[in-house]
């Protein structure tokens, strides 16, 4: 009936143990209850007995006192006997005031046990003389009766509790057997019968359908869940075993393939290292041939018919084939129009586009461009931007294959090469730019930014050299000092922006007049200009100055606030070098300044010093 238990311990049903424990506890409980109840009963009995003592004493007190007073001793004895006949009274003792002691009850003689018993003593007072105590009545409880009652109580309680405990225990055992152990045994049998080969049917309890579910149902469900999982597990296991068997058969083949793959990988690594080593310290002019050579190595490694490196043309949406292997192809397909190739074909596979003759890739533009249906295109990062494409024709590499990873590596190598190349180009470009900027800077440092004429600093750098050259060569040197008349008023009238425009317009009149080598036009500051005229005499300079004044007049720039005319005019002071008068250029310039001061008297005129 019960499932075999592998252990050496004997089988003991759960119900037996539960009953055993219940009986044990009920015995203990019974004992405790009995003691407690017996204790309570004892106190009740004792109190009851005390009350009866009081009752008896109070009942007989007067009559006894009366009889005793009248010395009616037979009556006294009768009454004492009657008192002693109370079941609880063990002994009634009457001590008269004249020293007599009369006892009645089950114990005629004073017994120690009786003496220790609870007692009650009442004085008996003469009916005729209230102050005369004729005796004392002392009643003792029959302790042995109490004990006997206690015994019978204890037995009764013990019996009742024992029966209760026994019945309760049996009921519990029956309930446990009916509700639990029967089903547990059934479950045990079911579980014991389970074999990995034959899991059999799911477990179900032999009991009526219930509206609720309990622990047994939970256990059953858990076992059934385990059953199902076991089922699944065994099915999976079987499949795996079959697969394993299959794998085992082709294991050696796989090992061979794998070894070949590893060897190939190793070869590729060597190849990459070689390519990179070649590239290090390569002069710039040898870079492109080196890239071509590398592409050739990759093409031969991957078994492709052609290998092209496309880079995105700056500012265009198409690609240009910078390098190619065989090198002949590079020239043929050197440029592609943007219409032929889309810039980036976004593909779920990321950076790799593969097309086989079966037409895996849907981008026909590439096929047309490469001239082959079967190709592999890989995106190449150059400085983190998708700047290039590595194309292999005549070879389709699987996206997840080892070759794809190797191709990726090759792409990085190519990317590095391209970067290298780009870095070179960039460096050259930068050098050109720097040179140009330097020139501009030089111009900026010598010229006034507003008018484009030389500035005061440049003038200061040049003036003394020109002066010394004029002294050495004994050549004439003239200088013009020009000032726009009432320019302050112009500014006030038309604003500074218009003022600046006026300055630009006036300064623009200078270059056409002073184009000879060595002639220097300077904006000294504000509306003041100077012109250094080497190898020019004073008369020639004055003539030129007059032409300048007229050119400004001809500009016809309106100047409403001018007191000279309704237009912008200038005054010019001219000075020419005179060895006697001018020790240095500043002296010459001072002379020109003085001439300008004279010119300013009437304005719009030229004064020669």
């Amino acid at each position: 009936m019960t499932p075999e238990w592998s252990g050496s311990t004997p089988f003991r049903p759960l119900s037996t143990r539960v009953v055993g424990w219940v009986l044990l506890y009920s015995v203990a409980f019974t004992a405790v209850m009995t003691v407690a109840l017996v204790g309570l009963h004892y106190w009740d009995e004792r109190n009851e007995a005390q009350q009866q003592l009081h009752f008896a004493a109070e009942n007989y007190r007067k009559s006894l006192a009366s009889s005793l007073w009248e010395l009616d001793m037979p009556t006294v004895r009768l009454q004492l006997d009657a008192i002693a006949n109370f079941p609880v009274i063990g002994q009634a003792e009457l001590t008269t005031s004249i020293g007599q002691t009369i006892r009645a009850g089950r114990y005629r003689e004073p017994i120690t046990a009786i003496r220790d018993a609870p007692s009650l003593e009442v004085p008996l007072i003469s009916p005729d003389h209230p102050d005369h105590v004729v005796g004392h009545l002392r009643l003792y409880i029959d302790q042995s009766l109490l004990w006997r009652q206690l015994e019978s109580d204890a037995l009764r309680i013990l019996g009742a509790e024992a029966i209760k405990g026994f019945v309760f225990g049996m009921l519990l055992a029956w309930l446990i057997a009916k509700l639990v152990t029967r089903h547990v045994s059934h479950i045990a049998q079911h579980v014991a019968a389970l074999q990995p080969a034959s899991l059999g049917t799911p477990l179900s309890l032999h009991r009526q359908q219930q509206s609720h579910h309990d622990e047994l149902d939970q256990l059953t469900e858990a076992i059934n869940l385990l059953h199902r999982r076991l089922h699944q597990y065994i099915a999976t296991q079987t499949a795996l075993e079959a697969e394993l068997r299959e794998h085992r058969d082709c294991l050696s083949e796989m090992v061979g393939t794998r070894t070949a793959s590893l060897e190939r990988l190793q070869g590729f690594h060597g190849l990459v290292i070689r390519v990179l080593t070649d590239f290090i310290n390569l002069p710039r002019q040898d870079a492109l041939p080196a890239v071509d050579q590398a592409l050739g190595i990759f093409a031969s490694y991957f078994g492709a018919t052609r290998c092209l490196l496309l880079t995105q043309e700056r500012g265009a949406s198409g690609f240009i084939a910078v390098n190619a292997w065989p090198a002949a192809c590079a020239g043929n397909a050197s440029t592609t129009s943007p219409q032929v190739l889309p810039p980036i074909a976004v593909n779920a596979h990321g950076r790799l586009w593969v097309s086989t003759s079966a037409g895996m890739c849907h981008d026909d533009g590439w096929a047309a461009f490469l001239g082959d249906d079967t190709y592999t295109v890989l995106e190449i990062d150059v400085k983190d931007s998708a700047a290039g494409r590595l194309c292999l024709t005549g070879r389709a590499i699987g996206i997840d294959s080892d070759d794809a990873r190797l191709l990726e590596l090759a792409a990085r190598v190519v990317s590095t090469m391209l970067n290298h190349q780009t870095a070179h180009a960039s460096l050259l470009h930068t050098q050109h730019a720097l040179q140009r900027v330097n020139e501009e800077l030089q111009i900026l440092s010598r010229n006034d930014p507003l008018t484009g004429l030389a500035n005061r600093r440049h003038f200061d750098d040049v003036k003394d050299a020109e002066f010394r050259r004029a002294i050495r060569a004994n050549l004439p040197l003239s200088v013009l000092m020009c000032d726009i008349d009432q320019f302050k008023r112009y500014n006030d009238t038309y604003g500074h922006a218009q003022g600046d425009a006026c300055l630009i317009a006036v300064s623009a009149c200078l270059p056409p007049l002073f184009g000879r080598a060595g002639e220097l036009m300077v904006r000294l500051g504000g509306e003041e200009f100077a012109v250094l005229l080497p190898n020019t005499t004073g008369e020639q300079a004055a003539l030129l100055a007059e032409r300048l004044r007229q050119a400004v007049w001809a500009l016809n720039l309106p100047h409403a606030a001018s007191s000279v005319a309704g237009r912008v005019t200038i005054s010019i002071g001219v000075a020419s070098r005179c060895p006697a008068l001018h020790a240095d250029f500043d002296a010459l310039l001072e002379a020109a300044d003085r001439a300008l001061y004279q010119a300013k008297d009437r304005r719009n005129r030229v004064v020669l010093a």
Partner: protein
């Protein structure tokens, strides 16, 4: 006719059996006491010579102090085929009423002796010869006399012997009979009245000895302890007096010297005690009531009805027995043989000159 027939029968018996006295009429006396009890024995002894002298067939049935047995005896007598002419009963323990009913129902003429109905019973039973036609009447000793006589004598003796307490008064305790029997109560009544009238007497307490010697002894013992000044015991009977004397002696008191006793009865023992001084005061004579009852029935039977003296005769049967009279009584009736008493002398039928009954102890002692 019937009388003639009875006469013939009696005559025939007399002829054929000379040993059997041919009685005039027959009387059954239901004796409440025991046959060996001194008082009731002396009562019977006193009745017997009277019956003999007056030609009365007396049958005495002892109830052995059991009033239920008295009733039983009366019942038996009433059920007899040969019923007695008269029945003498005692209202002992107030059982007279039932006995009277039965006797009256049986048609037996009944006379109460020694004790008659109490007041409550009288109210229920009425007067003799009225509701109960066969109830002839009663003859009872004046028990109050007995109490008074003995009490007076006790005080006299105490004063004479100087047996008084340190307060100069005689402290007396009374041991009465029982509360039920009228005689006892009456005796006590006489004594109490006497003591109350005497200024030098302190009546400490009254107890009821129930005519029992041992009980009286116990009570006397207790009373002496309860009242240390006690000088005397008034005791309602001789037996109880003996008990009291025993108790006093046990307590170291000397009867007649340091403790005085009174008693009521006339048994030889008590007479001797009176003579030797242990009993200081003694009254007796009431035992004679039965004998006087026979005399009355004799007279009634012979047409001398006592109706004119009253149907319920309350006679001064008691007499104080002093040393001398006690001695005389003892000498004359010491053996309880009262045959020397001439009962016919007290009969109005036998002595037609007798104006009235002169029953009493004094009369027979003279």
């Amino acid at each position: 006719m019937r009388r003639w027939l009875l006469l013939c029968c009696g005559f025939a018996v007399a002829i054929f059996n000379p040993l059997v006295h041919a009685a005039d009429f027959n009387v059954v006396f239901i004796n409440p006491g025991r046959s060996e009890e001194p008082y009731w024995r002396s009562a019977t002894r006193f009745m017997q010579p009277a019956a003999d002298q007056l030609d009365i067939d007396l049958e005495v049935l002892y109830a052995e102090r059991d009033h239920l047995k008295m009733l039983e005896l009366v019942k038996q007598v009433t059920q007899r085929s040969n019923k007695p002419d008269y029945l003498i009963i005692v209202n002992e323990k107030l059982a007279g009423g039932e006995m009277l009913k039965m006797a009256d129902h049986a048609g037996i003429k009944t006379l109460f002796a020694y004790s008659a109905f109490e007041s409550e019973q009288s109210a229920a039973f009425g007067k003799p010869r009225q509701k109960y036609r066969h109830w002839l009447g009663s003859i009872t000793p004046n028990s109050v006399d007995a109490g008074r006589l003995t009490a007076e004598e006790l005080v006299r003796q105490a004063l004479r012997a100087g047996v008084v307490a340190d307060d100069g008064k005689i402290h007396i305790a009374a041991i009465a009979g029982d509360k039920a029997t009228p005689t006892g109560a009456q005796r006590l009544q006489g004594a109490v009245a006497t003591f109350a009238a005497h200024p030098s007497v302190v009546l400490e307490q009254i107890v009821h000895g129930n005519w029992d010697r041992a009980r009286a002894q116990e009570q006397a013992h207790a009373l002496m302890l309860r009242y240390p000044k006690l000088n005397a015991f008034w005791v309602a009977s001789d037996l109880m007096a003996y008990g009291a004397i025993d108790a006093a002696q046990a307590a170291g008191r000397i009867p007649g010297k340091s403790m005085l006793f009174s008693a009521i009865n006339n048994s030889p023992e008590v007479l001797r005690a009176r003579i030797d001084g242990r009993i200081a005061s003694l009254a007796g004579g009431h035992f004679t009531a039965g004998g006087w009852a026979l005399v009355m029935l004799y007279d009634y039977h012979h047409g001398k009805d006592f109706k004119k003296f009253g149907l319920e005769l309350h006679m001064p049967l008691f007499a104080l027995l002093d040393h001398e009279s006690a001695q005389r009584f003892l000498t004359r009736f010491g053996d309880e043989d009262f045959s020397s008493v001439d009962f016919r002398r007290f009969s109005r039928h036998a002595q037609p000159s007798l104006r009235r009954y002169q029953f009493g102890l004094q009369a027979i002692l003279q």
